[in-house]
Subunit: 164 residues, 2 copies
């Protein structure tokens, strides 16, 4: 384990101010007490591998979450996707158009609201996502290999208590 000091780590011992000493090992004890810092570092670490493994599917993290949500919620609207995934409507337009032009999703008129459009995964899109979700799940297990299954489940639950 890391050297966990007390609550508020103090500045390391400083030598002569005119000739600053070389730092042998960088102390990040304080930053490691911040949830935002740790969550972001952990997320970026996983996303780095995600980008590599999901590149063959032509899916980046946002594309993946959008496709997965459409797959599991046939007929979902763009507005609902934005609210669910915390995206802004203008940034979703090009993404949807790209997925449609690739033949992964279809846009069908909404049954009750003429303004809205229901989004549906095509058979091609569904087949792609079955593979993509398996790849993503495998990668995540690999990236969290230092955690026991119970620790992993605990971590997911605690993170959701922050943003949900």
């Amino acid at each position: 384990m890391q050297n966990l000091k007390g609550k508020a780590p103090r500045t390391a011992s400083s030598k002569k101010p005119s000739a600053g000493p070389a730092v042998d090992k960088v102390d990040t004890a304080y930053l490691q007490t911040l949830m935002g810092y740790n969550a972001r570092r952990a997320a970026l670490s996983i996303i780095e591998l995600f980008l590599e493994r999901l590149a063959p599917y032509g899916l980046k993290p946002v594309d993946f979450s959008v496709m997965s949500t459409i797959q599991h919620n046939p007929g979902v609207t763009s507005r609902q996707l934005c609210a669910t995934l915390n995206l802004l409507p203008p940034n979703l337009v090009g993404l949807i158009q790209s997925l449609e032009s690739r033949g992964l999703i279809e846009r069908k008129p909404h049954p009750h609201d003429g303004r809205a459009v229901g989004l549906h995964a095509t058979p091609k899109g569904q087949a792609l996502m079955v593979q993509a979700e398996q790849t993503a799940s495998d990668l995540e297990i690999e990236k969290t290999a230092k955690l026991t299954p119970i620790q992993r489940k605990t971590l997911l639950a605690l993170l959701q208590k922050i943003y949900l």
Copy 2:
């Protein structure tokens, strides 16, 4: 920062899910099993409040982590900062120049390596960071209010097992 209204999907009437293509409530059960998704959502949730509370200090998350690391590691070099915080050297240059022009840090010659430059927080920078770190710590406690102190400590340790 998102500016979406936190309004739930309409249709309070309880209809059968099989009544039509319209989605009543969006199911995100699968995405919630992914550590990358949850970690990113939690991080963004905290960072949103971070941006608001730290704006009076003129510090964004990266500025804050750089200043904090300099504060706790007097004489640290740019290269060490990049390795520690996972930044790219070209993206750190402007950031360091900005902090220096604001009088928050000083650049002193490295004692043993003529190529390197040691970074030091000025008294003004130190005073600012004492306040900024307190604000950040307070904000994080507030944002993780649903967690017990033990759960919070557990969460930090588990996240570090992923990226460290």
